[in-house]
Symmetry: C2
Subunit: 203 residues, 2 copies
């Protein structure tokens, strides 16, 4: 079932593209947090942590579904940008209308990757809360979850930045930049989890 999607991703069709791939990485990271929680609850050795980790698993499930929705939203938003670029540009009126449509569609297209960045940042926070409380046998999966979420965050940031470069309205630009930077800051925590897990599984 993954093969068909990957073949579409590799094709010259404009969607799915990097935005959807970023969302998929976020969804994979969320699913691994969920898996680690599912392999922790109901085990005697972790009974004392069950009340703590159970809501983390539930939130991770929601984030997985949200990331998958955003992959679809990213495709739709990108198609709308392409449609705006395809508008007639013969007369001055047409040129002005096309330019406005491009600006509007581009601002809209920044939203799905911005939200993917927010989802990825939250997955990093959830992953960070697991070591020491979750099943020790799947510590490596916490590290993979964090690594994928960091890449999803970074990839989503690239896609927001592509849109920022086209936007002319300084107010819209700086608001998007501010929101993005707040999410991107969480990337450092994600890198720390990966480093800690690698030391933890090796020793």
């Amino acid at each position: 079932m993954l093969g068909d999607w990957l073949e579409q991703l590799g094709s010259s069709a404009s969607t799915p593209g990097g935005g959807a791939a970023a969302a998929l990485a976020a969804a994979s990271g969320a699913a691994l947090v969920e898996m680690v929680v599912n392999l922790t609850v109901g085990k005697n050795a972790y009974a004392e942590h069950e009340a703590y980790v159970r809501p983390i698993g539930e939130e991770a499930r929601q984030l997985r579904l949200r990331a998958l929705e955003l992959a679809g939203a990213d495709q739709a938003a990108f198609d709308a940008v392409m449609a705006a670029y395809g508008l007639a540009k013969q007369t001055d009126e047409e040129k002005a209308a096309r330019s406005l449509a491009i600006q509007t569609a581009t601002a809209e297209a920044a939203q799905p990757p911005l939200r993917v960045a927010g989802v990825a940042a939250r997955i990093i926070e959830l992953a960070a809360s697991l070591p020491g409380r979750s099943n020790r046998n799947v510590l490596s999966d916490v590290g993979v979850a964090a690594s994928l979420a960091v890449s999803a965050l970074e990839s989503a940031a690239i896609n927001v930045e592509v849109n920022l470069a086209t936007l002319k309205d300084e107010t819209v630009r700086s608001e998007l930049r501010r929101e993005l930077d707040a999410h991107v800051a969480t990337g450092q925590l994600g890198r720390e989890i990966v480093g800690n897990v690698r030391r933890g599984v090796s020793g």
Copy 2:
């Protein structure tokens, strides 16, 4: 089609797990390299680079298929390790046979993530060769490809290291470690591509 796989990933079923998710990230990165090439060949503006980028696209396609195969191989190898742990351990003979079976299955289980690391390293090299020769409009996708390949490499390394920690044979361990380190070294190039792309798309 992705939703079902992600739900399985999030479930308490032991496979798919982090190893398969790492392989999927590598396959996504490969597919994006392939996409960028597919959006470059046949365009007049990039005619001079066509002979250069076409084999990159073909190799990326092969790597995409290989990564997807490795996701399946990772699951099979992990199941074999679990089966070894499940062997009888009542008598001394049983204990010795079980211990040997665990060591053999664990050494085998290091192979799929080691190969994913190699695939990811090669995707990074392919992505590095594209900027300046591929379609400028999809430069961001080169950055996402590199980011996902770096995460696939890092995630695969975590999974190799988990197996290394169980292996008792120092010769096997050091050979696996040597091969892994050779792949991991390419991660730095991947981070540089991501940084260069982010500066490039921003302005």
